[in-house]
Subunit: 297 residues, 2 copies
């Protein structure tokens, strides 16, 4: 039960205006993932607004998730923080609550050097002692990993995976090859960016770290399963069907769209943490229409 | 006593490994600024590592600074935070402790839209009710203000200034003109980026938000004073003399260099917050040599 294989679904973390997590709504979202039998659940990813929740709320979210999932699949928990000591504390909290693995992004304010990021990961991995996935997401962290740095990190104890943003289909094979070349066999190379994920899996990615998979796991699993059966044409067709959702993601960001979807489905009544604003009403109507048109409910 | 005119010196905030502020060392740094009679002091700017300190420590730093400065010059306090409600609380803390103004950067993780940033500023300004400077620093916040957005913000109550990164001498006049054109007379347009600041002041900038000025206020004030006397040649010569310091800033970042300088001068014994690492010994020796060569002590 590796947390770094196949579909990893990342739900939103519904919370009130003060950043208090609505654990009942979170449990509803997790129940969908358990019922769909996703191979792994990614709690408190970027879509799970980990960066906006304090330590106590992040711990409450992990405890609620561990209770709901009850060991039926591994729970991967985001522990990113600006300070190294805070990331260590968050990792210890996640471990003590029962996480199977942790996901660590190099959150930055002052731009970081490669050596600083390396030392940050080394300190956290050594203290937390759980399988760790390097979370590469330059769009939010403003740090870009070289393949060489991923290679150095992969040789540290506990660092077992990378979550890399998949480039377009034309580039993804080369991108994965560079990461494979820098790391040893058994190191998991998985991809985010839902609208490139099908191509990334076809090119040999080990995992799909998925925003859509955090709310619509069945539809994403169909794609993964078609590829596992070698039916690339079916996978491509299933992916193409979701294009209206991918278009919304690129236009409004997947996080904002997921809040609108979860609320439309009655699973939550949450707004993203301010300063992020809920999407305007007309956009929410467009999103609802796509959810119905694609029969995503 | 506007906090947004002339030289604004931004000291580091010495703290221990756990992020506990060393208020004695901070007071020593502030005493230099008071003795040099800087027009304004910028506490908890980017160089003051506001992003890495929690609310309680930021409040301790402000209280120590208010005590040390004792009203002899205005104190401008950085209140940036990822969450809007946290920025409000930090602003209220700064106001209640005696700050003269606040400096607010649009810190981001999820990339923000213009409307989100506008609403963030409106909420904070309305709650805090202190003169507010919009802190534009895309290198750390990953949000770039358009002149039009600065214009919209300048029409909100309490928003009285912008701190904009000065582009090179060839571009700075156009940059300031665009901001002047978008804002009303009396709105303060000031610049950061020390190695472009002399040109920015010559082009009519209202303030120099200075990292070097947080530790070497005398040398920076000489430049400001020469320009005030209309002696541009003397100002350019004084600025040129500091080129070895500017070169260190661009090579290693001004924050990392300032820690090395303050420690070399015996004013602090602090490391930047991890994951930021102290500069390697040989670099620290180079920095010490520049401090001595330029007679900066």
């Amino acid at each position: 039960m590796s947390p770094f294989r196949g579909l990893v679904g990342f739900p939103i973390t519904p919370a009130d205006e003060q950043g208090r997590v609505d654990t009942e709504a979170l449990r509803r979202l997790l129940r969908r993932l358990v019922e769909a039998r996703v191979p792994s659940i990614g709690l408190l990813g970027s879509t799970g607004t980990y960066a906006y929740l304090d330590r106590a709320e992040r711990r409450r979210a992990v405890e609620a998730a561990v209770g709901e999932v009850a060991g039926r699949m591994p729970l991967l928990v985001g522990i990113g923080a600006l300070r190294t000591d805070e990331a260590v504390r968050l990792g210890e909290d996640a471990r003590d609550a029962g996480a199977a693995g942790v996901l660590l992004a190099p959150v930055s304010y002052t731009p970081l050097t490669e050596d600083e990021v390396y030392a940050h990961y080394a300190s956290v991995a050594e203290a937390v002692r759980l399988p760790l996935c390097v979370y590469d997401n330059p769009g939010t962290t403003h740090f870009s990993f070289s393949a060489a740095l991923i290679g150095r990190l992969s040789r540290l104890p506990y660092i077992e995976a990378v979550k890399t943003p998949a480039p377009s289909a034309a580039l993804v094979a080369d991108h994965l090859r560079a990461l494979r070349g820098a790391t040893e066999a058994g190191f998991s190379v998985g991809c985010s960016v839902d609208w490139h994920a099908q191509a990334a899996l076809r090119a040999g990615g080990d995992a799909w770290y998925s925003v859509a998979g955090g709310l619509f796991p069945g539809r994403c699993l169909q794609i993964v399963d078609a590829l596992a059966r070698g039916n690339d044409a079916a996978a491509a067709a299933l992916d193409a069907k979701l294009q209206p959702l991918w278009d919304l993601f690129t236009e409004f960001s997947s996080l904002r769209v997921m809040y609108a979807c979860a609320n439309f489905l009655g699973l939550s009544r949450a707004a993203p943490p301010r300063p992020i604003l809920p999407l305007p009403e007309p956009v929410q109507h467009r999103i609802a229409a796509v959810v119905e048109q694609l029969d995503l409910a």
